[in-house]
Amino acid sequence: MIALTEVTVRLGGRRVLDRVTLTVAPGERVALIGPNGAGKTTLLRAAVGLVPFEGRVTIDGRDLRQAPAAARALVGYVPQVPGLPAHASAADVVALFQELRGVPPDPLTVLQEVGLEGAAARPIGTLSGGMVRRLALALARLGDPPCLLLDEPTSHLDREGEELVRRWLADARTEGRTVVLATHHLDGLETLVDRVALLEEGRVVAQTDVGALRHRRAFDLLVTPPLPTDLPAGVLPLPSANGALRLRVPRDVLGETVRLLGDRVVSVREVPVEMLLREADR
């Protein structure tokens, strides 16, 4: 379990995280979403003790401030931009991290898991961004940590790499692994997490379980009047301007509504997850 209690982080005189409390149960997978600068990356960094923070962070009951090494032994972390020594080979880096985690060095097996066995001897500086990303993912799983903190885990990855992340996230559920991932957009990851939390200006402003979120998925339609009287159940008129009308249409009646409105539909836009979260939290 990962528990952040009243965590505040100040960087450069600015309050980047503001009394954030977030508890992730064992085996739960949580996605942190929010705009740039919301504090997602800082929250993950605080959860692994990479930035000075006020408040309390515990990993499976181990206090990060009092026993940082013991707490970090339970966490695999993938930063947004993985920094690895450019002159060292991929195999050497894996061996180093295995030694630091007290795991017998076996870099080739680890590299095989992420399809990098052919690049074992290559200096990291010659690897592509996607390959470095895969290597970082492999490093995060060394020692089989019960918690994973992933910052934008699918960025810079090709389709195959994305599939790998999705498989790992799916496996995390069966393995009982706790996962916190930060991402700008869910991009289909909502099927692989249990809960979504929205961060804005350093605060968790809303959170809900994915089931509820899926139930609320909806579209905003811009239509020209007049409206038919027999709109499907659940369709709501919204405040509008410029003579056009706006409708909030649940996903399951979208097709029926569009057919009914015909060419009066001007535009269709999916309601952003952030907005749904805020509305769900009210």
């Binding site: 990479l50 970090r72 180093l96 630091l100």
Partner: protein, 275 residues
Amino acid sequence: MREVLVLARWDGRALLRDRWFGVLAGAFALLTLTAAAAALGAADIAGVSSFDRVAATLVHLAALLVPLIGLTVGAVWLAQDRESGVLELLLAQPVDAPTVFTGKALGVARTVIAGLLAGYGVAGTMLALRVGVDRLPAFLWVVGLSALLALATLAVGFAISAGAPTRSRALGWALLVWLSLVVLSDLGILATALILRLPVTVVLALGVLNPVSAFRLASILAISGSSDLAGAVGLYAAERLGAGALTALLMLVLLLWTVAAFLLGRLRFVRGSVL
């Protein structure tokens, strides 16, 4: 402790691949060899003590280059890892910040000392072949004092690096400190002494508190066996304290710089952010 050794081994090897260190260590080896050859050649013509000439040349060379190596290598080491994101990943492993700092410092220190020994080894071998091994202990003293100076300046470099956000800023600070210790310090003390009419004991203390001055003075005492060539400050200090006590004091100064700067750097590193 195991993690400290793992990191020390890793960073020691990594420094061997570092281009900046390669240039500096290569320059040191080349210059010691050139200086030794030139000084030996001159000795043959003039017929004066060739060992003293070579050793004095090496001391002056070391007083310039060893702090430059220690300060710049130490200052960029953590800063470049911070800038590239290596520290972020490293500190997310089951190691605490003091372990990372200590391991890295030990690894770098080991390689820097090895580089110094290699550089001195070339000159020492040439010296032994040409003038014999009678004065080998004095030469080894200079080598040992250079190693102490390297440790002291490396520790200062790491203290700079511990809080520097970028490699370039760390390098800037390191060069400023180098300039202050090697060039400006003596001039500053001289000017301050003249303007403020400082008592001679204060001038002495200010003089020997500079690690580069301490190294230079201790080395000259080791080479010559007397304080005659140690300059006005050295002569006065040797008369007041005795040559042996002065050498011990100067070595203590170098050790104190090492320990104090290391602890300060570690504190800055632990309290700081990896960002």
